[in-house]
């Protein structure tokens, strides 16, 4: 066990854990941040995705040793108070979910996608979200939501 310092949703945190603990279960069990979901434990489904220094990672296979000194943003860190992020707003507006269990990872994935490519084509969105699974089949709405968020964010920057 050793102290590992990192930034979680803008707040400095230090946890004293084994370095091979996974970020997913440190978030959920040690820090009580349950927005990040366990879906498969093998980095296939995307439900556990968070941003690590702005890029998406699968927390179920991310050891805490990789987190030290870096910035983690979970789904809980996207809204500013009651003000949803443009991506979250678009998911609400287009109903990009049903059961909601993949949604945390989807929303995070969409943030990462738009950060890397603010004006993605529909094909690029589909390609970029390929590794996020939704069993309820809200896919088309998810793609619509991301397209709409991209437009909104581009408008906001003008």
């Amino acid at each position: 066990m050793k102290p590992i310092a990192f930034t979680l949703n803008g707040v400095a945190r230090t946890v004293t854990v084994d370095e091979d603990r996974t970020l997913l279960w440190v978030l959920r069990d040690d820090l009580g941040m349950t927005g990040t979901k366990f879906g498969c434990g093998a980095s296939f489904c995307g439900a556990c995705t968070v941003l690590l220094d702005g890029a998406e990672v699968r927390t179920c296979v991310t050891p805490m040793s990789r987190v030290a000194g870096r910035k983690v943003v979970t789904v809980e860190g996207l809204a500013r108070g009651d003000k949803l992020s443009p991506v979250q707003e678009a998911f609400v507006e287009h109903v990009g979910f049903q059961c909601g269990f993949c949604t945390s990872g989807m929303v995070i994935g969409a943030h990462a996608l738009l950060a890397a490519n603010p004006k993605p084509t529909r094909a690029q969105i589909i390609q970029g979200m390929e590794r996020h699974l939704c069993r309820c089949a809200a896919h088309l709405r998810i793609v619509d939501a991301i397209e709409s968020a991209a437009r909104k964010m581009a408008g906001g920057r003008k």
């Binding site: 603990r21 996974t22 997913l24 279960w25 440190v26 959920r28 069990d29 040690d30 009580g32 349950t34 927005g35 990040t36 979901k37 366990f38 879906g39 498969c40 434990g41 093998a42 489904c45 439900a47 979970t74 789904v75 809980e76 996207l78 809204a79 949803l84 979250q88 998911f91 609400v92 109903v95 979910f97 049903q98 059961c99 909601g100 269990f101 993949c102 949604t103 945390s104 929303v107 699974l133 939704c134 069993r135 309820c136 089949a137 809200a138 088309l140 709405r141």
Partner: protein, 626 residues
Amino acid sequence: MIRREEEMIVPEGWGFVETIDRRDFLRLTSTGLMVVFAVKPPEGSFRPVWNFAKQQRTPPDFNAFLHIGANGRVTLLVGKIEMGQGIITALPQIVAEELNVPLTTVDCVMGDTDLCPFDNGTFGSLSVRVLGPILRAAAAEARAVLVQMASERLQVPATDLTVKDGVIATAGGAKKVTYGELAGGKKIERRFEGKAALEKVAEFTVVGKSAPRRDAVEKVTGKARYAGDIAPPEALHARIVRAPAHGATLKSIDTSAAEKAPGVRVVRDGELVAVLHAHRDEADKALKLVKAVYDPSPSTLDHENIFEHLEKAAPSARIVGPSGNVAEGEMSAAQVISGKYRKGYVAHAPMETHSAVAAVAPDGKVTVWASTQTPFPLQTQVARALKLAPDKVRVITPFVGGGFGGKSAGAQAVEAARLAVAAGTPVRVIWSREEEFFFDTFDPAAVFNIRAGLDASRRIISWDNEVFGAGERGSRMIYDVPNQRTSVRGSWGGTQGALHPFGVGPWRAPGANANVWARESHIDVLAAKAGMDPVEFRLLNLKDARMRRVLEACAGKFGWTPKTTPSRRGVGVACGEDAGTYVASMAEVRVDATSGAVKVLRVVCAQDMGVLVNPEGATQQMEGCI
């Protein structure tokens, strides 16, 4: 009116539900409670997962469903659960409509066995179709009682009063009183004498209009809670020692290495052995330290010989909807075409694996937070496993992360409860993805042997379908065939003896998904043999007016142009009926001639589902099924 095909909505032992026709949904509600339950005794021995409660009656008192607070907020209490299908929005719409209150003032408590009236479960497309009219009647009665109370309080005849947005007032509003003032947050002891008048369908303002989903903000912000998110103080994660195959039996087990790991506890309750740790990933590691040796499963079944096995081992046949004489029909046929259709087991694969958290209070009461479609049957299931009275068990259902029928079985909740008792501390069981794909109650494998005769005018003159394993639901012949017989052998759930090598159960329109697929596949073969376009062939053999209308609507939207099959143009059609809803789907696909890879280019789906409560929600459900 008992519709035979609807009996299979619930597995054997659950009893069966007499349903109303979807078209009569609104008309019939004026006669009072719409659901009659008949108890059908359990047959044979059940797999533990199907050891569900017997059917009980729906409570007759509207107070069971509705509570009106002193502040005027209405709480709707239902034993149903929200797993993405959107009833957390649709059911309050029904209540808001009939009670004449704004939708935003209706809160919804779901799936809590201590707070909500009994409900057999959220499955079979029953929530809106069957519970909807019950809630409508309850809300109408509550409104009628409140108007009576207002009449007495205001000293004005009830006929001079109108209700709007939870305020009862005289014309012009000189005298008025609110629901909140009348109810005062208390149970309304009075019952309405006679039949409470229902609002006219034409005057609906909430039902039939799209309403935004009420769970949206919670779900996009990560605040929505699921069973695995519940962590009572001192709770430990459990990882259960599992056999490597269904039917393998434990020979020896050595847990000493796991027990030495820091923070790990090993707990046993009979055959149930688990490693416990406060952190899930550390429990995962500890599980790998357990050395268990098993005798192999005696089963010799595999994915290749399973179909032969099903045909050999299936129980005796039940004949569905026979008419005419199949042998005579075949004699008069110009050609008889046989087909064998096989489908494999299908997992439910919800994104949220089966999860449950159990805690025992000092007074012995057990609370289980579970991802379940059946909180009340689960309450009984847990109580039986713990040898407790059902009222000593409370099941609370947070949001469910997908069910698709698979969370009608609650093995994980029984495991959590047994381990919590054995460990003396709250226990969280979150199945791994591997466990989910292993202990799921699969949509069963099935075989269909179909023989159909075509006469010289290309009409289906005979239909003889032997169904193995899929069950009865959806096996009714929707086409107009004078000589027909469908022999159903085995069901999709309940007691199957040794028919299936592992648990099977309901999966998205259970039985119907397989039956309709096999039937429609054979219809396509018949159309090709008849040298006809598959849509024209269907319409030639179809009298059912609703099915024709839906099929024609789908063809119109799709832009279907008739062409004899096989057309090699990559378009396909299928249609059918389930749970009172008529469906037609058409797809355009592209097949790579070299690799055989299929790419779906577009799908058009048309449905007639009767009364729409939330059109936007219904659209989401249609999309989710494509």
